[in-house]
């Protein structure tokens, strides 16, 4: 067993802080990609096209999942464990739905004659949206762990840090998606 020897005097838990630094790092990767996108767009050979409709549905799923995540976190804090469990489950399903809809979106694009190597503009869409999707998948994996924990017997331990970390990450991928969507709509 472990006892506390590490003085924790700072306001923010180190794991939460670590997550914020990680978020900054992930943002830098997308900053790299989006600035490359802008540079390329100003050169020859750029194709302008409509985003597939599926992306709008996926956006709705993503926003809904953020709301359920937020509620789940609240229920956890209020020790309403059954409600917490069902909200986590809904969040998890919405996350899967989001990823599925992104895949549908790419299938529609390819059907409409815009496969990945059609033009640099399309390639960028695949890479940017795909990498965002990979981050959502990472979140889903983390949700599965939270999920397993929520249904295990030892949920009596009311440590909210992992739940908070999970929720923050989930909201982050949500905001990131909305930002990317606006970016991709505005700069074509």
């Amino acid at each position: 067993m472990r006892t506390v020897a590490m003085e924790q005097r700072k306001k923010i838990h180190p794991h939460k802080f670590t997550l914020w630094v990680a978020i900054a790092s992930i943002l830098m990767m997308f900053a790299g990609l989006t600035s490359a996108y802008i540079v390329k767009r100003n050169q020859a050979n750029w194709l302008s096209f409509e985003l597939p409709i599926a992306f709008w549905y996926s956006t709705a799923a993503m926003i809904a999942s953020s709301i359920t995540m937020w509620q789940a976190q609240r229920k956890f804090k209020n020790r309403e464990i059954p409600a917490y469990r069902s909200l986590i489950t809904v969040t998890f399903i919405l996350g899967l739905l989001f990823v599925a809809l992104q895949v549908v979106g790419f299938t529609i694009l390819a059907k409409n004659g815009l496969p990945m190597n059609k033009n640099v503009a399309v390639s960028f869409l695949y890479v940017i949206v795909g990498l965002h999707g990979a981050h959502v998948v990472g979140g889903i994996v983390a949700l599965m762990v939270t999920f397993a924990k929520a249904f295990s017997k030892s949920v009596r331990n009311y440590n909210s840090v992992p739940v908070d970390v999970m929720a923050t990450y989930w909201h982050f991928v949500d905001f990131l998606w909305i930002y990317l969507l606006i970016f991709l709509l505005a700069i074509r």
Binding site: R2, N119, N157
Partner: protein
């Protein structure tokens, strides 16, 4: 939220109490292999780094053999390398592979992972007064991702078509088209996958270093009382966390171009008489993504060496570091500027000269904080009570190298001069002196200084002095003449200069350089021997504070266990540099400030 965090510490794996130490079941695996103790992880990074350094160094000896003796044949080379050295002469393709691997290994695996991984892990918790990292688990993963990256890179040495050979900067189209060269085939894919693992490793490490420094300092350890080593490692981690993801994005785009038929970096290419369908890509775009990491990377390599040298210079001059706040401020300035100068590597890419002018200005601005640091190091030494320990010699050597190499940076930073000097041996001389040798010296200084803390024994001094003198004299003999070769236009990355009338004159010089490099390599082997010999047979450390230093790591037992301090973590009452104050040689950071103590 913070109360719930304070109530539940189960997840703080580092929360060890000395009394519970014995209750841990420590198997061989959990102690030496999948260890979560920052000190063990540090040693894992160091030893992996040493192995890579031997491999990377050996590669340079091999290609220097070709440059120094272009006409000779060495039958043993064929025994060693097989079809890569038919008839005892390096195959040109393999020459490029060796150069590429040398650069990749030394820049990333040795001077990034080996250097930051070792000393950030070892020193941050010990010097700020923490029991371990913020997340020992991520820390362990950081090492194992590095290990995985190492295995993949190493295995790329053995594939049929050879490892990547397009230079450590992997510019497309060479790196993007499998048909461009034999090293562009599977070797390049392995390079990219390995580097992706490597980037994950440095990100996990960097995240941890930053949150540990900001969150786990002991009582009284305000930011401005931190040793300069910790500051340097802090800025290093920030640079890494913000710039490596950009390289990752470039690497991902490159993987798409290679394997999925996209054209991010490719356009209008004819290869082997065949016209490729790729259209609309830009190879220059890759250079922007690469150098946006690439330039911060050189400071990721340099800053830890700066921090450790600052610390060691002060301890062994028995004087406070001169201008502590100026040292922190100049590192901060360097870290900011590091993000704003990447295009100085691209002056000859057709960059808009107007834009180039801004990059010239920003690049030359780096000279200001650099000069402040040099001034402060020299004034720290000035009238010091200097003890020439091996660590001290290497720290002084670091300053010397930084001055010599920094000055040539000013030449290169002027775009008008760079048009002539770009891609010549002048650049090779510049960055080997300022980055390669300087950081190696900083790393050696660190190893000599902290080895007693790591292993409870001293390194052998005689071997250390031989190592130092051969290294510093040798490094100048190797790299100084390269400036002249570069000024005369001798290009880098050529296989055989004897084919050119204008470079024939350098035949003798090249032979000399190659000869010296073998001697210097041998001296490094002496260090490696000293290192492993002393782990088991070195003179034992008998006091907790053998160098008479102020920082917290010397308040732990001679061989600290997991958790670092057996009892409470000590409280800090002063900065790290009270040397020679009020007639006392040194005053540890844990000593309360006396009533009549002077302020300086």
């Amino acid at each position: 939220m913070s109360t719930s965090a304070a109530l539940h510490h189960e997840d703080l794996h580092s929360a060890h109490d000395a009394h519970h130490e014995h209750h841990h079941h420590e198997t061989f695996i959990s102690k030496y292999v999948f260890s979560q103790d920052h000190k063990m992880i540090s040693k894992q990074f160091l030893i992996t780094g040493i192995i890579w350094a031997i491999i990377g160094g050996l590669f340079s000896v091999l290609f220097r053999l070709q440059l120094g003796y272009p006409e000779a044949t060495f039958p043993w080379l064929e025994d060693l390398l097989g079809h890569w050295a038919k008839g005892g002469k390096l195959n040109p393709e393999f020459y490029y592979a060796l150069v590429t691997m040398h650069g990749t290994i030394l820049v990333f695996f040795v001077l990034t992972a080996g250097l930051s991984g070792t000393f950030a892990n070892f020193l941050i918790p010990l010097q700020i007064g923490a029991r371990d990292m913020a997340s020992p688990m991520l820390n362990m993963l950081s090492y194992w991702f590095f290990f995985l990256a190492s295995i993949i890179m190493f295995s790329s040495l053995f594939v049929q078509t050879g490892p990547a050979s397009g230079g450590w900067t992997i510019y497309p189209p060479l790196s993007a088209l499998g048909d461009a060269s034999s090293g562009s085939k599977i070797g390049m894919d392995l390079w990219l996958v390995s580097m992706a693992m490597f980037i994950v490793s440095s990100l996990l490490g960097g995240l941890n270093y930053i949150s540990t420094i900001l969150n786990l300092r002991t009582k009284g350890m305000s930011m401005t009382r931190m040793p300069l080593t910790v500051w340097a490692l802090f800025f290093t981690a920030i640079l890494g966390v913000l710039s490596f993801p950009v390289l990752l994005s470039g690497a991902i785009l490159l993987l798409f171009d290679r394997n999925l038929g996209t054209s991010f970096f490719l356009s209008d290419i004819v290869i082997g008489g065949k016209i490729l369908p790729n259209e609309g890509g830009s190879a220059i775009l890759f250079q922007h993504l690469f150098w946006f990491l690439g330039h911060p990377e050189v400071y990721i390599i340099l800053l830890p060496a700066m921090g450790m040298s600052s610390e060691i210079l002060s301890v062994n001059s028995r004087k406070p570091i001169f201008g502590y706040m100026a040292m922190v401020g100049s590192m901060f300035a360097i870290a900011i500027l590091a993000f704003l100068v990447w295009a100085h590597h691209m002056f000859v890419t057709g960059l808009n000269p107007f834009l180039g002018a801004f990059f010239v200005l920003l690049t030359l601005l780096i000279a200001v904080p650099s000069a402040i640091k040099v001034f402060n190091w020299l004034t720290t030494l000035w009238r010091g009570n200097i003890r020439f320990t091996p660590a001290m010699l290497f720290a002084i050597g670091f300053v010397s190298m930084f001055i010599s190499g920094g000055l040539t940076g000013i030449f290169l930073g002027n775009s008008a001069l760079d048009i002539h000097l770009h891609d010549t041996y002048f650049v090779i001389a510049h960055f080997h002196i300022v980055m390669g040798v300087a950081s190696f010296f900083g790393m050696f200084a660190g190893v000599y200084h902290w080895f007693p803390k790591m292993y409870g024994r001293f390194l052998n001094n005689t071997m250390a002095y031989i190592h130092f003198w051969i290294s510093i004299v040798g490094a100048y003999l190797i790299f100084w003449p390269m400036h002249y070769e570069g000024l005369a236009g001798m290009p880098r990355r050529y296989y055989d200069f004897s084919m050119w009338e204008s470079f024939k004159q350098f035949g003798g010089l090249n032979e000399f350089i190659s000869f010296v490099s073998m001697i210097v390599f041998a001296a490094q082997l002496l260090f490696v021997f000293n290192f492993f010999y002393s782990i088991f047979k070195g003179r034992k450390v008998t006091s907790t504070n053998p160098w008479g230093a102020n920082t917290l790591e010397w308040t732990t037992p001679i061989r600290p266990g997991h958790g670092n301090w057996p009892g409470e973590i000590p409280e800090v009452h002063r900065g790290a540099y009270d040397y020679g104050k009020d007639g006392r040689e040194f005053i540890s950071q844990i000593e309360p400030v006396g009533e009549n103590e002077s302020h300086h």
